[in-house]
């Protein structure tokens, strides 16, 4: 294996954590396979990013172009295609972020390269690579192999690969990449930040969080009662926002907020990784769910396998009684 290439992404002058996670995994694999680790970062002014990436990478390609402010999929695809065709890395790694999700499948088709997305782990053995993915609501892991190929493309699950500290001081190579294409068919119009809402769930000491298992908007009142009994706030997983039952400012997870309360009480939440990523900072996690196989139980400190609509009203009573 000659080279492993990690595609770094940045948004609003910040390098994405997931890129450092991918570099850490890439560093491990490169050392194991005696390969070079190459990082590529693309943008208008990427010096700062390049220096940071050089802590992990043996070589950083800092691709400069005046037209490229942020990490946008189409220009990145053109530039990466050209770099990959020239250097033929055995493996291209990037995060399964909104950026990677938009870019990787198109890049794979353009290059004719096999692709595995949202991977939990990667193994190199006997010159070939296998990738593990999580399927069926996290209840099964699937191990994949690939046909012999020049380049394999993999996106890694956000938050799954710990960032390891390195100080490689890799070489930085600046490349000026003229782009003739204007990408007029697709215009980036800007970012929209979430409006600050009335309740900041990130500062709460107790978070009572509800998921699909709450079943009906009317039952949210139960969670509110429990939260007020515990001096906490009500938050939720994605389906509750999708149904329009709570505003998005209450959503915990990858596309929502990260919380770090003393107690996270997960009611009727299955534990999809997109949600779990946002609650890992909690000191104590309690889950109530009627599905004993729900993956939330492998994260929780305490679990009750039962219907939340039966347990929660009783729990409110018991807490009120104990408080006296």
């Amino acid at each position: 294996m000659a080279e492993i290439l990690v595609v770094a992404e940045h948004r609003r002058q910040t390098l994405a954590d997931v890129s450092l996670q991918m570099l850490s995994k890439g560093r491990q694999l490169a050392d194991q396979a005696s390969a070079e680790l190459l990082a590529v970062v693309i943008g208008r002014n990427v010096d700062g990013y390049a220096q940071e990436l050089a802590r992990w990478a043996d070589r950083v390609l800092a691709v400069m172009n005046e037209k490229l402010g942020e990490s946008l999929a189409e220009p990145s695809q053109k530039i990466l295609t050209s770099i990959i065709k020239e250097r033929k890395p055995s493996l291209v790694l990037m995060g399964h972020s909104s950026f990677g999700m938009d870019l990787a499948p198109a890049l794979a088709v353009e290059l004719g390269a096999p692709l595995a997305t949202d991977c939990l782990d990667l193994f190199i053995g006997n010159g070939s690579i296998t990738a593990t993915r999580s399927i069926y609501n996290g209840k099964v892991n699937a191990v994949y192999s690939f046909i012999p190929c020049e380049t394999l493309i993999v996106t890694g699950r956000v938050g799954e690969f710990p960032i390891e500290d390195w100080d490689k001081q890799g070489e930085i190579e600046e490349i000026d990449f003229p782009l003739e294409e204007e990408f007029n068919y697709k215009q980036f119009e800007g970012y929209i930040e979430q409006e600050a809402g009335g309740v900041d769930i990130t500062q709460a000491e107790v978070v009572v969080s509800i998921g699909r298992g709450i079943k009906d908007k009317e039952h949210i009142e139960l969670a509110q009662q429990l939260a007020s009994e515990l001096g906490g706030v009500v938050a939720c997983s994605r389906p509750v926002v999708d149904y329009g039952w709570l505003p998005s400012e209450r959503q915990v997870g990858l596309s929502g907020k990260a919380v770090k309360p003393k107690l996270y009480l997960a009611l009727g939440i299955s534990g999809a990784f997109q949600h779990v990523v946002g609650l890992k900072g909690s000191k104590m996690i309690v889950a109530i769910n009627k599905d004993a196989r729900a993956s939330i139980f492998s994260l929780a400190d305490y679990g009750i396998v039962d219907d939340i609509l039966k347990v929660v009203p009783l729990l409110i009573q018991k807490i009120a009684a104990l408080k006296g």
Binding site: D102, A106, V109, Y136, I192, Q194, Y302, V311
Partner: protein
């Protein structure tokens, strides 16, 4: 405006026990219920709403065996005019193969907009729509949470991390992959179901599509399924709801939560 929505049928695994079968490559399906992929239902609702305001046609498409007709019937009941199923069991296929089949089919159809769910509930790789866009050579936007179409231009917002969005204008024809929560998929009425029975559901075979042999060989192969490592396991509180509530209240009190 002509819209094509690509949908799939998935097992409902949310509250089910999933058992890996003896081959270690499939799960036991006998006890599972099957449904339309969640993301695809949002994509269909998006398409039906666009058709209602802009007129034109809506075609629902899937690649799968006969049982998959039920999700196409559902699409027809929601408001699709026509459905097409490419009759092929894609169980050993990778996204490339399915994308190649859809590309070939789409080239024979008229479309301004092709909508996909952003990912599937079962395998969740999120590749298909973007691959099809690249194969067709049309622009794409993934993870769409808002969409307006006017004069051949789509204004879309797509979801990023941590509550942020980004907005694009994109020329049609285009492929969009739709994120959940973009709308509230309608309930299907009895009259909708009756009407769906009279609509056209076309079945095509692979041989009717011009596909190279290369397109029909997977690049990604499933080696085996495994039960995920459990990691740390919760300490389970057992008993009746009354008993477990009592015990949990005490644990919370002893931990200083209140």
């Amino acid at each position: 405006m002509d819209i094509v929505t690509c949908i799939k049928r998935v097992p409902d695994t949310s509250d089910a026990d999933i058992i890996i079968d003896a081959s270690q490559r499939e799960i036991e399906g006998d006890t599972l219920a099957f449904k339309i992929n969640d993301w695809d239902e949002y994509a269909l609702e998006t398409a039906v709403q666009l058709k209602e305001t802009l007129g034109g046609s809506l075609t629902a498409v899937t690649v799968g065996p006969k049982e998959w007709d039920d999700v196409l019937r559902r699409a027809l009941a929601m408001g699709a005019d026509k459905a097409i199923r490419v009759d092929e069991d894609m169980i050993t296929a990778d996204s490339y193969m399915v994308a190649g089949i859809l590309e070939s089919l789409l080239r024979s159809l008229s479309y301004d907009l092709v909508l996909f769910g952003a990912q599937s509930e079962d395998f969740g790789s999120g590749q298909l729509g973007i691959m099809v866009a690249e194969m067709l050579g049309v622009p794409h936007v993934s993870l769409v949470v808002s969409l307006q179409v006017q004069d051949g231009i789509a204004r879309v917002k797509r979801e990023l991390e941590a509550g942020a969005l980004e907005s694009y204008t994109i020329e049609l024809p285009a492929v969009l992959t739709v994120q959940t929560g973009i709308n509230r998929p309608r309930y299907i009425s009895l009259s909708g179901i009756k009407r769906a029975m009279t609509k056209e559901l076309q079945v095509l075979s692979l041989s009717g599509l011009s596909l190279s042999q290369e397109m029909l060989a997977p690049m990604v192969r499933l080696e085996r399924l495994e039960t995920p490592p459990t990691g740390k396991k919760a300490e389970f509180i057992s008993g009746s709801p009354e008993e477990s509530a009592e015990q949990l209240a005490k644990i919370l009190q002893n931990s200083g939560v209140f």
